[in-house]
């Protein structure tokens, strides 16, 4: 388990999970999770289906009670408080708009539950419909609206109650790609305008990366990593995170040389990569756990040249496959040692044109190469057999890795 709270959180904690577990019968959906979500934050719960992210969200909303552990809302324990007494609101996956009520009445539902005076209800509903840019449809029924419009109504219906946190359960899943992209921007705009805390559940890593302040990557009921999008992309704490967020070349590796002192950006190591040779790499977690390690390289970090480059780290490969992928060209190359590396290059007029069968050089900046622990990733996702004891051995002098400044937006 490599869950790590990456850095200090600005603002007051709104939602806190303390060792929260949830089991359905014998099935553990969420396992001993610690989370702190701060006021005004756009926080994403990211993971494949069945990873426990929706259960986590439903526990915040109050639809599920944790089997053990505590959930706090503004510092007050709410683990057993029913949903209708919690000041959080949800945007449901299929919106769950009331089909018998007009858009206005849908949005007014929560305010009327809390016995808000009629005049105030009207003002706040109209104000919120303006915020989500849906002023002219208040008398229509949900089934007379397009998917994008229904999405906005669901958002208004939740936000009009001024919740301490807005919970969004894959809200854009039902929309087509173009609409989804524009709604992503819309959500960010609305969150900025209102300054509310958003907790966003998604399985779409692109969506999580573009929208979130911080992301919790979940896998099999556990939080694999919590951090900023940059953290998670560049310094994945596990092979699962590395392969789930973006694409990654993952090759078995062993440490041959350790840095004598901590380096900026994590411990610099020299590793023996199977089928590739000795290369420098930076560990993403410190201390590294005992057990198998993987050398990680993002395909887009690789440059392909015909001649051996003067700078950086390089390996000679035979190009085995070239696939057109729109903006990029995906090339697979096999090293003399038998390792396969995938590269995503942007074809330019002057650059090399890899053809299958040709000899080329693949090179990268040494900072791009990472060393990640393989233990918590499922065996079937990885090139090699994994599964190691969760004990950790210190790799360098145990200090918190310093991170380059200015990476958090």
């Amino acid at each position: 388990m490599h869950a790590q709270e990456s850095r200090g959180i600005d603002g007051n904690p709104v939602i806190q999970f303390e060792q929260v577990s949830k089991a359905f019968g014998s099935l553990a959906a969420v396992h001993e999770t610690d989370l702190t979500i701060a006021e005004g934050e756009f926080f994403s719960l990211l993971g494949p289906s069945g990873c426990g992210k929706t259960t986590t969200l439903r526990m915040i909303a109050g639809f599920e009670r944790p089997t053990s552990g505590r959930i706090r809302l503004d510092g007050v324990e709410v683990s057993t408080v029913p949903p209708y007494r919690r000041n959080v609101n949800t945007v449901f996956q299929q919106y769950a708009l009331f089909p018998h009520l007009s858009v206005f009445d849908n949005v007014a539902f929560g305010l009327r539950s809390s016995r808000t005076p009629a005049a105030e209800v009207r003002d706040r509903v109209e104000e919120m419909l303006a915020v989500v840019r849906l002023p002219d449809v208040s008398l229509r029924k949900p089934n007379q609206l397009s998917g994008g419009q229904q999405q906005r109504v669901a958002l208004a219906r939740a936000l009009v109650n001024r919740p301490r946190a807005l919970l969004l359960d894959e809200p854009l899943g039902a929309l087509d790609l173009k609409l989804r992209e524009s709604m992503q921007a819309e959500l960010k705009r609305i969150q900025g305008e209102l300054g509310s805390t958003f907790v966003y559940v998604t399985h779409d890593q692109g969506e999580a990366l573009t929208m979130s302040d911080r992301i919790a990557v979940m896998h099999r009921g556990r939080t694999e990593q919590i951090g900023t999008p940059q953290d998670i992309y560049h310094r994945p704490a596990s092979a699962f995170v590395a392969s789930f967020i973006g694409n990654a070349n993952l090759l078995r590796a062993q440490v041959v040389e350790r840095a004598p002192a901590p380096q900026p950006g994590g411990a610099r190591l020299v590793v023996e990569v199977s089928g590739l040779g000795r290369y420098p790499a930076t560990a993403t977690v410190d201390p590294l756990p005992a057990g198998p390690l993987l050398f990680m390289l993002r395909p887009e970090a690789i440059v392909i040249t015909e001649d051996e480059p003067a700078q950086g780290v390089a390996v000679a490969v035979t190009i085995t496959e070239v696939t057109f992928a729109g903006a990029t060209l995906r090339c697979a190359g096999r090293s003399d040692g038998g390792a396969t590396l995938d590269a995503a290059i942007v074809p330019t007029a002057v650059g090399a044109r890899p053809q299958p069968g040709t000899r080329m050089w693949m090179s990268w900046q040494h900072e791009a190469a990472r060393l990640v622990p393989a233990d918590s990733a499922p065996a079937e996702d990885l090139p090699a057999g994994t599964g190691a004891a969760p004990t950790r051995v210190p790799l360098t002098t145990p200090t918190t890795p310093a991170r380059p400044a200015g990476e958090r937006n």
Binding site: F63, P82, P83, A96, F98, P99, G110, N161
Partner: protein, 300 residues
């Protein structure tokens, strides 16, 4: 067969196909509904010229209609009263049952709803007659009710007279409720079962408590079922004569008994026809009014 006709004739045949499909229904309804209805209407305006006149002749005799009110006003009002009471009782008993099965029935839902239909495997007549045994004077039910002081309460409410349950308005209303309950439960169940359970989550998320959710979300969404169930109960109940015949006394005769008596015993066809048509007219207007009140026209 289609090959023999040749491809070029198909478009024409395609255009006639819908009428072909409708034809059996149209012919059936014309022969067995429209024609009898017209003959009933004609009969209702006929009269016997003399006592010995066997076949009444058509004479624009509107008196048949005014007679209904003057002679059978009580039975008419009683029929609608009993049917209304039975419908309300069915709703009160059936709605919670349907709700429970739809929301909490889980994988037993179909079995549970099947049980509701089980009584239909026995004849309607037989089931009603069995009630006469159950409610018999000095039977277990009467004795238990007397012991519990229930008889006194019912007597005070005017639902029974004397010391018996049989041959009382209460027994007729009870019989009607019993016999038509499945017709209330099934449509309500269907409409409740269609409700997306996530709407209940959404209501709870928007601060609505259980009762508030029931009132503001579940009940409005089940109105089509309530509407259909009420009609399926009220209409046959108001025309029913079996329950009144077996379970009711002279004080609980319904209009159905009058029609049966006029047609089959007194052979007063014009009078019976007039009552029947009037019932149709009243029920149709009542249904339209009900639909208007419930606002179900656009929902259904």
């Amino acid at each position: 067969m289609a090959e023999r006709d040749g491809g070029h004739r198909r478009p024409n045949r395609g255009r006639l196909a819908p009428y072909g499909l409708l034809a059996p229904g149209i012919i059936w309804l014309t022969l067995f509904f429209l024609v009898p209805l017209a003959s009933l209407a004609r009969m209702s305006l006929s009269s016997k010229q003399s006592r010995f006149d066997f076949v009444p002749s058509f004479s624009w005799d509107w008196a048949n209609y005014s007679d209904v009110f003057s002679l059978y006003g009580t039975q008419l009002a009683r029929s609608f009263g009993f049917a209304l009471a039975a419908t309300v009782l069915c709703l009160l008993i059936g709605y919670p049952l349907a709700y429970w099965v739809a929301v909490h029935g889980g994988r037993w839902r179909n079995v549970l709803i099947g049980l509701v239909v089980v009584p239909f495997f026995t004849s309607f007549l037989l089931r009603t007659i069995s009630w006469t045994v159950l409610l018999a004077d000095n039977g277990t039910v009467v004795q238990a009710a007397r012991w519990a002081g229930l008889l006194r309460v019912l007597r005070a409410a005017g639902l029974i007279d004397g010391d018996r349950l049989l041959d009382t308005p209460l027994a007729v209303i009870g019989g009607l409720t019993y016999n038509f309950l499945p017709f209330m439960i099934l449509p309500i169940y269907v409409s409740l079962e269609k409700i997306d359970l996530r709407l209940l989550d959404a209501a709870a998320d928007l601060y609505a408590s259980g009762t508030s959710t029931l009132r503001r979300v579940v009940f409005p969404l089940s109105l089509p079922g309530v509407f259909a169930g009420s009609l399926l109960t009220f209409i046959p109940a108001s025309g029913d004569f079996v329950n009144a015949a077996f379970l009711g006394g002279t004080r609980s005769r319904m209009i159905g008994n009058v029609v049966q008596d006029r047609f089959l015993v007194q052979l007063d066809y014009p009078g019976a026809a007039a009552i029947s048509l009037l019932m149709m007219a009243i029920i149709t207007s009542a249904v339209l009014l009900y639909a208007k009140l419930l606002g179900t026209a656009e929902l259904a």
